[in-house]
C-alpha cells in the first residue's frame, strides 16, 4: 500500500509540473497583456515600460519561465500584478473559503447521491423511484447558474429566509460561538446546495445502477437466507459492493465540483479561489492564475488518490493483487 501511494504521488508531481508548464506558455501566448489596464492618458508609456521591466515582463518568455519555475520550486508563488501582494498570502485567505464551500458541497453530494441512489434501487420502479428519476433528470439538465438564481429568488427575495450572498453577515464581527456558526451555516446553504445537490443527481443514477446490479448477486440471496433484516442486507452487504465502482466516479467528480465552484462563488459573492481565478484571468494576473491552477491540480490529484485508496480499501481483491497474494 505504501509503495503504491508513493508511486502515485511521484507520478502526480510530474503531472502537476506538466500542467503548470503548459498553462504558463498558454497564458503568455494568449492575447492580452497584464499592463493593459495601465493604458491611461495620465500614465506615460515610459512608466508602463518601467513597470514592465520591474515585473520582468520585458524578458523573453523562456527566461520568464525559468525565473518563475525556480521561484515556484522553492515555494515562492510570486507577487500578484494586480494586488501587488505575495500570491501565497492571497491564497492563504481564499483557499479556506473555497474549501469550506467544496467540503460542504462534497458532503451533500455524497450523502444525497448515495442515499437517493440506494433508496431508488431498493424500491425499484416504485413511485419514489420514478419521482426520483424525473427530479434527477430535471436537476441534472438545468444549468447551475440558473438554479442558483431561482433559489436566490425564492429563498432570499420571496421568502427572505436565507442570505443570497457572502460568507457571513456584515455584523458577524460581533458574533462568536454558536451564533457565528449558525450565521455562516445559513450563508452556506444555498451555494452548497447548488454545487452539491444538483450534481448529486448524476451520482444517484450511478449508485442506483450499481446497487441494482449488486442486488441481483447470489451473495445478497445468501444474506437474506441468513435471516438478516432487509436494512442490513442493503446497508451492509449490498452497499459496500455497490460503492466500489461509484468511488471512481467520486474521484472524477471533484474537478467538476471545483469548476462549478468558480461559477457558484461568482454568483454568491463567495470570497474564494473561484472568484479570484476569474478576476486573475481577466486582468492577466499570471502568478495568481498559475498558483490557483496549481492548487486546483493538487486537489484534483488528491481526490483521485483518495478514490484509488478508497477503492482498494473497499475491495479486498485489489489489495491482494497489489501484494501478490
Amino acid at each position: 500500500m505504501a509503495a503504491f501511494l508513493l508511486r502515485r504521488i511521484l507520478q502526480s508531481l510530474v503531472l502537476v509540473w506538466i500542467v503548470l508548464t503548459i498553462t504558463f506558455f498558454l497564458l503568455h501566448l494568449a492575447p492580452g497583456d497584464p499592463m493593459a489596464r495601465y493604458e491611461h492618458p495620465d500614465i506615460s508609456p515610459e512608466t508602463v515600460m518601467k513597470m514592465r521591466g520591474q515585473l520582468g515582463l520585458d524578458r523573453p518568455v523562456i527566461e520568464q519561465y525559468f525565473i518563475w519555475a525556480a521561484g515556484f520550486a522553492r515555494g515562492d508563488f510570486g507577487v500578484s500584478f494586480r494586488y501587488n501582494r505575495p500570491v501565497g498570502e492571497i491564497l492563504a485567505e481564499t483557499i479556506p473559503n473555497t474549501l469550506r464551500l467544496t467540503v460542504a458541497s462534497m458532503a451533500l453530494y455524497v450523502l444525497f447521491g448515495l442515499a437517493l441512489g440506494m433508496m431508488s434501487a431498493a424500491r425499484r420502479y416504485s413511485a419514489f423511484d420514478r419521482l426520483n428519476t424525473i427530479v434527477a433528470l430535471f436537476v441534472y439538465s438545468i444549468p447551475s447558474f440558473w438554479l442558483a438564481l431561482m433559489l436566490i429568488m425564492l429563498f432570499s427575495l420571496k421568502l427572505g429566509i436565507l442570505p443570497s450572498s457572502h460568507m457571513q453577515s456584515l455584523d458577524s464581527a460581533s458574533m462568536s460561538g454558536i451564533p457565528l456558526f449558525l450565521d455562516r451555516a445559513r450563508h452556506l446553504v444555498l451555494p452548497a446546495f447548488v454545487l452539491g445537490v444538483a450534481s448529486a443527481a448524476g451520482l444517484a443514477r450511478y449508485m442506483r445502477g450499481s446497487m441494482i446490479d449488486v442486488l441481483r448477486e447470489d451473495y445478497i440471496r445468501t444474506a437474506r437466507a441468513k435471516g438478516l433484516p432487509e436494512r442490513s442486507v442493503l446497508l451492509k452487504h449490498a452497499f459496500r459492493n455497490a460503492a466500489i465502482p461509484v468511488v471512481t466516479i467520486l474521484g472524477m467528480s471533484l474537478p467538476f465540483l471545483l469548476g462549478g465552484a468558480v461559477i457558484v462563488e461568482k454568483i454568491f459573492s463567495w470570497p474564494g479561489m473561484g472568484g479570484l481565478m476569474v478576476e486573475a484571468i481577466y486582468t492577466r494576473d499570471y502568478p495568481v492564475v498559475l498558483a490557483v491552477n496549481f492548487v486546483v491540480a493538487v486537489m484534483v490529484i488528491l481526490g483521485n488518490l483518495l478514490a484509488d485508496t478508497g477503492y482498494a480499501v473497499l475491495d479486498p481483491r485489489i489489495m491482494s493483487k497489489e501484494t501478490g497474494r
Binding site: D218, N241, R317
Partner: protein, 325 residues
C-alpha cells in the same frame, strides 16, 4: 417418524412477458425429523425454486408464491409475518446454495460472514460469536481455522468456499438443512469430499436434510426417501430402496437408466430424449407425455393425479391408476 415439515400445494410463479410461468406447480411432500429427503429431477424442473419458496426467498418481481402451505411446529411459514420468518431463516431452516463461488460476499471475510449469522440468531457478543465461527470452520474441516477466518472468499478454492457455506448454514444448529446441489459446481474430486462431509455432519448433528440434486448416485448414498420432480410437479415419491428396485414412473426409469453402473462401459449413457418443457408450454394432459416411452392415449388428454400404488409410494402416472389402494 415425527414430521418436521409438511409442504402442501406449493405454487410459485414467475411473471414473464408471455404470462405467469408456474415454475413450481402444487408441490407437496413431508420431511421427517432427522430424515434426509432427496429432491431429484433434471435441470430446470423447479428444484431450486421449491427450496427458495420454502424459505420465502423468491424475489418479487418476477417471482411470487401464489398458493400452498409449509407447516412447521404448527405454523404455516407461508403466512408468517416477515419479521418472524427472518427468525426461521438461518436458524430453523438454512440453505447451502448451488453456486459456491458467488454465494459469499466478496468484501467480507469468510469468518465474519459466519460470525454475523451466529450473532444474529444467538444473542452472542463479538468475541463469543467469533470463537463459535472458528469452531464451525473446524467442524467443516477447514485446516488452520483461526487463520482461515480472516480469509476473503477469493482467497479460497471452490471446495473451501462451499465448506464455509456449510459452516454458515449449520452455525445455528438448524433443524432443516436444504442443500441445493451442494457439489455440482465443484471439481469431481472435491464433490465426493463435500458429500462425505455432509453425511458426517448429518450423522453428528442429526438435523433433517433436503438434498437437492440431479445425481441419483448421490441420492442413493445419502437419502432415506426420494421425491422426483418433473416440470414443476412431484411425479414420484418413494423410500430410497424401493425407488431403485422398482421405479413407478417412466420419468424415474429414464433418470435411472442414465446412471453409469459400476464396471459397465458405455460409449454414451442413454438419456431421456427431449428437454424439460417450458412451464408456459406444458404439453396437454400429462406433463411428461411428450417424452414418455409408455404413453397411452389418456396421457394426452388428462393430467394424472398422484396415485398411491403401494404403501409409502406415490406416482403421477396413469399406468398406476387403480393399482394398490
Amino acid at each position: 417418524m415425527e414430521k418436521l415439515l409438511e409442504i402442501r400445494g406449493l405454487t410459485t410463479e414467475f411473471v414473464t412477458s408471455e404470462g405467469a410461468a408456474k415454475a413450481v406447480d402444487g408441490v407437496g411432500f413431508d420431511i421427517g425429523a432427522g430424515e434426509t429427503v432427496g429432491l431429484v429431477g433434471e435441470s430446470g424442473c423447479g428444484k431450486s425454486v421449491t427450496a427458495l419458496s420454502i424459505m420465502r426467498l423468491v424475489q418479487y418481481p418476477p417471482g411470487r408464491i401464489t398458493a400452498g402451505s409449509v407447516m412447521m411446529d404448527g405454523r404455516d411459514l407461508m403466512k408468517l409475518p416477515e419479521k418472524q420468518m427472518r427468525r426461521v431463516r438461518g436458524n430453523d431452516i438454512s440453505i447451502v446454495f448451488q453456486e459456491p463461488l458467488t454465494s459469499l460476499n466478496p468484501v467480507f471475510t469468510c469468518g465474519e460472514q459466519i460470525r454475523e449469522t451466529i450473532a444474529l440468531h444467538q444473542k452472542m457478543g463479538r468475541r463469543e460469536s467469533r470463537l463459535k465461527a472458528v469452531e464451525m470452520l473446524r467442524l467443516v474441516r477447514i485446516p488452520d481455522p483461526e487463520k482461515r477466518y480472516d480469509n476473503y472468499p477469493h482467497q479460497m478454492s471452490g471446495g473451501m468456499r462451499q465448506r464455509v457455506m456449510i459452516a454458515m448454514a449449520l452455525s445455528c444448529q438448524p433443524r432443516l438443512l436444504i442443500a441445493d446441489e451442494p457439489s455440482t459446481a465443484l471439481d469431481v474430486s472435491v464433490q465426493a469430499q463435500i458429500i462425505e462431509l455432509l453425511l458426517d455432519l448429518k450423522e453428528r448433528m442429526g438435523m433433517s436434510v433436503l438434498l437437492i440434486t440431479h445425481d441419483l448416485a448421490v441420492v442413493a448414498q445419502m437419502a432415506d426417501r426420494v421425491v422426483v420432480m418433473y416440470a414443476g410437479a412431484v411425479v414420484e415419491e418413494a423410500p430410497i430402496d424401493s425407488l431403485f428396485s422398482d421405479p413407478m414412473h417412466p420419468y424415474t426409469e429414464g433418470l435411472m437408466a442414465s446412471i453409469p453402473k459400476l464396471g459397465e462401459r458405455l460409449e454414451r449413457l442413454p438419456v431421456i430424449p427431449g428437454n424439460v418443457p417450458d412451464p408456459l408450454r406444458l404439453p396437454s394432459g400429462c406433463r411428461f407425455s411428450d417424452r414418455c416411452t409408455k404413453r397411452i392415449p389418456k396421457c394426452l388428454i388428462e393430467e394424472p393425479p398422484l396415485f398411491s400404488p403401494a404403501a409409502g409410494r406415490l406416482s403421477r402416472c396413469w399406468l398406476r391408476e387403480g393399482i394398490g389402494r
